[in-house]
Symmetry: C2
Subunit: 416 residues, 2 copies
Amino acid sequence: MTAPPPNLRIDGQRLWRSLMAMAEIGATPKGGVCRLAASDQDRAARDRFVAWSRDAGLAVRVDRLGNIFARRAGRNDALPPVVIGSHLDTQPTGGKFDGAYGVLAAFEVVRTLDDARIATEAPLEVVVWTNEEGSRFAPACVGSGVYAGVFAADDSLGRADRDGKTLGAELARIGYAGPAPIGGRVGAYLEAHIEQGPILEAEGKTIGVVTGAQGIRWYDVTLEGQAAHAGTTPMNRRRDALQGAAALVAAIEVIALESAPSAVATVGALGVAPNSRNTIVGSVALTVDLRHPDAAVLAAMDRAFRDRAAAIAHARRLELAIDEVWNFPPPTFDRACVAAVRQAAARAGFSHRDIVSGAGHDACYMARIAPTAMVFVPCADGISHNEIEAATPADLAAGCDVLLGAVLALANQSDR
Amino acid sequence: MTAPPPNLRIDGQRLWRSLMAMAEIGATPKGGVCRLAASDQDRAARDRFVAWSRDAGLAVRVDRLGNIFARRAGRNDALPPVVIGSHLDTQPTGGKFDGAYGVLAAFEVVRTLDDARIATEAPLEVVVWTNEEGSRFAPACVGSGVYAGVFAADDSLGRADRDGKTLGAELARIGYAGPAPIGGRVGAYLEAHIEQGPILEAEGKTIGVVTGAQGIRWYDVTLEGQAAHAGTTPMNRRRDALQGAAALVAAIEVIALESAPSAVATVGALGVAPNSRNTIVGSVALTVDLRHPDAAVLAAMDRAFRDRAAAIAHARRLELAIDEVWNFPPPTFDRACVAAVRQAAARAGFSHRDIVSGAGHDACYMARIAPTAMVFVPCADGISHNEIEAATPADLAAGCDVLLGAVLALANQSDR
């Protein structure tokens, strides 16, 4: 084994081939991927990853949550590992890159080091986290969340899908309820991912240096009025729940614009009852999603939302109920890890900018127990969670090169 | 037979018993009625009405559309009849009074005349129209609509329910595809009905003298934007179809208020896609219902709706499609018939006010071919199309007394 040359690069074509080979598993007719957590497709993807890892001489272990760790020994193998990876499960109509890119870029880093016969001081572990998407089993990011102590293992394994099958039973069925204990010291955690947003593409930047992620607050809201005949009920006697909801939807947008440009706020789901053309809407159920990278601003957005919802309900004589279903404080990534990513991008000559992740990632939970950073690459039109999700081989290779540079810096730190 | 005494009154208790006996057929556990058109329950209700009519010596005929006419001869039986009635079918979760009241009030008028041995100059016919509700077979008011030449008989009989059964086949099955020809001259048409709105109750009036009905325009609207990740898509890059829909819902209310107090405008049905908490809404489908008794105002409301929808779609970069699915011009009832109702209410000493029907009724189609008017009585909280629909025996009796007075006036007009 030798010292890394300054111009060491990953093999972009090999990375692309790995991505396309993985995308065959659960491939959909529209060019996407359906690989729900702990499904037969998830098993096939895991099997492929494990086979590749064993071929590469990595030591594979699987924990009770089904998290897979493929380990490359370090010169000082007692050091806590630099863990790199992401997930292989997808949305029901997901794409080829969300998750799989982070796993296979990490694996490409290991292959590149092997080819160049370069050892690292600390060991490396390529990780595949279980059930990042949360599509089949709630909540999302369960594998990393349990690892980081956010969720209890038994509770997470007991969560059932729509058919009543639990994550634990399904992991056992597919052979990935492993014997390894959950958790352990991590020297640093790095994750490469497509941006899932439009910013890098719009600004012509190749690399996003992810400094943290947005805090997220989720609410279920109901507005109750009075269903009544649309023809016979004068406007001034109505208690139209949809009019209240429309005012609230508009207010949600205003709340985001008041904290521009970092805030986003969304009503993504909305249902009305009785949902009949000639009947005034009696009740509306809707969701609210507020995000901001600063916890104080997010708290102010929460207050503004509650105040305006109450004012709207009062003015329109509606009954309002707000149930906060998730409050995820904004994670801030480790300054040194982020710097390692930024320096790796600069050294490799890629255009880059600091960016805050709008989506949740396994890295957000890992940041609670380990120095953590992420590398973003552009995706076409910012579209993700969609079968048309796309990224260029050049950008994907660039992100992997940056991951390589950051891994080398963090795994060879003299102070470890 | 004698001349009617000036203080002739119907038997309110007998009317109530008739209503309660009819409400047994299709009774629901929550106190309502489910008696869909041409169902077994509809047959049972029709059979009961026909049996009562034959017991009363009326001549019953049924036409191809299943409309039932129970005829009481006039002194001059060659005169066109005064037709009075309504319908016996109900909404799936309907009440005891919508429709049944108009039929049984008409029958109570005939019984009252029989008891008092009073003949009318023109014959009277109590009518039961087929499929007024339109719940099982579209459209609504088919029996009267075909009678009035609005719909073609064969087309209406060929309309299928969700199970593929046609109205014609179901009428034959229940024994109500009759031999009588459809149509015929009508001297006057009168219909008593619960208001199905809150105005009479709120103003403490017993009788609504119905001068006409609102014109109705129905639209299906779609707004298409771009579904995208709720966390990663900045506010200024969004094409959020729900934000456009919220602005349109608010505009619809404004359009009604601009033509206050007679205009009403409603978005009753609305659905969003993909309808996921953390995905920006990509498309919205919603309905718009505009009503006004003046066709010119209704046309202005139509223009305002189209203009504002286009402006909203343009400003938010959404694709807009508007499909007008129904345009029902406002019917105006016959001045002399309306006056007969108003005078009958005044003579009987009931508080009354002129009112425009917000709902559609068989009378709206009959107004196209015959002098027509309606009598409204209050219903509790203005609620209808609901199992909790309620009206007081006193109000129902009052409306029936007014119907009696108007029938006597119209059936004994010297100029007929």
